[in-house]
């Protein structure tokens, strides 16, 4: 019924009385690239944990394309079309980038179809194309543990895309990257945003300014503090108080 791709209502998650998320309301249109910022402990990662089924909400609900995600397990949510990239790159280190992508890109994820199905002919090309996109073609067949940090980040984004989800959740994609790599990842995300809905969680303000063409959401103490264009958010006194702190450095 609703046209929203993601709707979150009154979401509260408490761990032993500590409310990591507190009556959070959030919604997002299909095709949007939304950046979520907020100081440490604002509940950004818990927010993703709830959407992907890692943590169950104490109160409230999360709906994806109108479907309640409560009581679904991680793999079911993934199959609905939500892909997640973790804060530290989590790829399968003993496998090659090509194999990593092929595992994520597999369309039939049951036990016997994984064992018995022939690989569709198009899959090889899709994967080669993806390797090209994330710039890993020369290193496609060495174990992923030999990749640099930035390459691992890009590979994980590639794995996300291979799943062809409708909604990508990307947690701090540029942590620990050089400026040049950061810009590459930024451009990669902007390209992906043309065909996917994306939520990016990020600390790096430079990077946020690069990619935040639309709405930015600020989380603070488990709820939404404010929402708006990057410029408005940046000048909002509440935001400056809780998060940006050193306002002068933002004016470069």
């Amino acid at each position: 019924m609703s046209a929203k791709i993601l709707e979150i209502e009154d979401l509260t998650v408490s761990f032993d009385g500590f409310k990591a998320l507190n009556q959070l309301n959030f919604s997002m249109e299909p095709g949007e690239l939304r950046v979520i910022i907020g100081p440490n402990g604002a509940g950004k990662t818990t927010f993703l944990d709830v959407i992907t089924g890692k943590v169950q909400p104490t109160i409230g609900s999360a709906r994806f394309k109108g479907k309640n995600l409560k009581a679904l397990s991680e793999h079911q949510i993934c199959r609905l079309g939500i892909g997640r990239k973790f804060q530290t790159p989590r790829i399968f280190l003993k496998l090659t980038p090509r194999e990593n992508l092929s595992l994520s890109g597999n369309r039939y994820k049951g036990v016997f179809s994984t064992l018995l199905n022939k690989r569709p002919t198009g899959e090889q090309q899709t994967i080669s194309g993806l390797l090209e996109t994330v710039g890993l073609t020369p290193k496609a067949d060495i174990p992923a543990e030999l990749l640099s940090h930035g390459e691992k980040q890009r590979l994980e984004i590639g794995m996300l895309v291979a799943q062809s989800p409708d909604l990508l959740l990307v947690d701090e994609p540029v942590a620990g990257l050089t400026d040049e790599e950061t810009e590459n990842v930024g451009n990669l995300l902007l390209t992906l945003a043309e065909s996917h809905s994306i939520i990016v969680i990020e600390h790096d303000m430079e990077f946020v300014r690069q990619i935040a063409r639309q709405q930015v959401t600020v989380l603070h103490q488990g709820s939404v503090l404010c929402e708006g264009k990057m410029n408005d958010v940046q000048n909002d006194p509440r935001v400056i108080e809780v998060y940006l702190g050193e306002a002068p450095s933002m004016d470069e």
Binding site: T52, K54, S73, E74, H75, C78, R79, G83, R84, F86, R90, I91, F92, L93, K94, L95, E99, S102, L103, S104, N106, K109, G110, V111, T114, L115, R119, P138, K139, D141, I142, L146, M159, Q163
Partner: protein, 386 residues
């Protein structure tokens, strides 16, 4: 010349692997017994047959532990169940109306109900594989679905082992308790199981089943499923977020590995004169894991080699040094764990070749494996140095 062969092997790896397997199988089938007999060590042929059976369990352990990262310390259970399934059938090869002799000792007049289907040979064969598989699948499903992992799973497998051990030990009237079932004086197709002819056939069967088990394991671990198992081993929750439910995969592998243990148990029992609850000793199940650790985790050849080598050194050392052989064995395990954490085959695959080379003074600088094997880089290294 060597390079040409290498090129051929790279072009058609499957074919060459197949040729290799067949060649080794023929060697074990014909050459090994002939050589051992010529050396006057005929009894070692039977020993080798038993160790080949043990190598089948080692393959199972490697599937579940080496590839999937689930440490089962209770495979003795599946091994023993397989052994009992075959031994029960052998025990029933009696004239109409007679009961296996131990029943009369305990005053049992009628065959317990669960013995009856074991009159059938096909049923018994199926039971050696499917009873362990079913039990493993059930146990695995309950445990894996509840996301019990790591050391907790290992403890649970040990607990299951002890439960069955105590049950088998205490049920004299059902399965002869501690004494187990003797098979060498039983008959199969009217020949004594302990006779040379039957033992020779069992030796051949051990080789055949080992090859089949190897092919099955190879098939499971080579394709996409194999890569997924490695992924589950290295980061299970990431696998969930990629849209796979690990439970089914883990149950499948655990059941397959239990089925292999069952086959191994049956072959082992028939070649060693019987089966008793002793094979459900905790130490034996841990030993199985050690074979794989010594040979090389996540390497099928390593598992097989490990099982055969450890068992042979065990029996040879115990003959030569009856007083202190356990120290040697302990030393071997400690060496492997500390010096070769990936086992012999793992070491060969990673640094082995380079270490041997550098010992011979032909060290090669390795920076980035892909670069080091890149012909262009190789060319630059050789021609642009000066």
């Amino acid at each position: 010349m060597l390079r040409a062969i290498k090129g051929q092997i790279q072009k058609r790896p499957r074919l060459f692997e197949g040729i290799g397997v067949v060649a080794i199988a023929l060697l074990i089938l014909f050459a090994a017994p002939a050589i051992l007999t010529a050396m006057g060590q005929e009894f070692r042929v039977n020993m080798l047959g038993r160790f080949l059976a043990l190598a089948i369990v080692a393959l199972g352990i490697d599937l579940i532990w080496g590839y999937t990262g689930i440490l089962s310390l209770g495979h003795g259970l599946f091994f023993t169940l397989g052994g009992y399934a075959l031994a029960m059938h052998l025990k029933l090869q009696l004239p109409e109306g007679e009961l296996p002799e131990f029943f009369t000792l305990y005053g049992v007049k009628e065959l317990p109900w669960f013995w009856k289907p074991f009159h059938s040979f096909p049923f018994s064969l199926a039971a050696t594989i499917f009873v362990p598989m079913l039990i493993a699948a059930l146990l695995g499903y309950l445990v894996f679905r509840n996301r019990i992992r790591g050391v907790y799973f290992s403890i649970l497998t040990q607990a299951a082992l002890i439960v069955f051990f105590n049950f088998f030990n205490s049920q004299q009237k059902l399965i002869n308790g501690t004494n187990g079932l003797k098979t060498d004086t039983a008959k199969i197709f009217d020949v004594y199981v302990g006779s040379d002819d039957v033992q020779r056939i069992l030796y051949i069967l051990s080789v055949v089943f080992l090859i089949l088990a190897y092919c099955l394991s190879r098939w499971l671990t080579s394709g996409r499923l194999g890569r997924l198992l490695i992924a589950i081993r290295d980061d299970e929750s990431r696998v969930r977020f990629s849209g796979y439910d690990p439970t089914g995969f883990k149950v499948l592998v655990f059941a397959v590995s239990a089925g292999l243990a069952g086959i191994a148990g049956a072959l082992y029992a028939a070649q060693s004169g019987g089966i008793s609850p002793k094979t459900m000793d905790i130490a034996f199940s841990i030993e199985m894991v050690i074979w794989v650790a010594v040979g090389g985790r996540a390497s099928l050849v390593g598992a097989i080699l490990g099982a055969i080598l450890v068992n042979f050194s065990k029996s040879i050392l115990s003959e030569q040094f009856p007083q202190v052989w356990l120290f040697f064995l302990g030393g071997l395990f400690l060496t492997v764990v500390t010096v070769l954490p990936d086992g012999f085959v793992g070491w060969l695959r990673t640094q082995g070749v380079d270490q041997v080379r550098s010992l011979l003074g032909r060290r090669r600088l390795l920076t980035y494996p892909s670069l080091a094997e890149d012909p262009e880089v190789e060319y630059e290294r050789q021609n642009l140095r000066n």
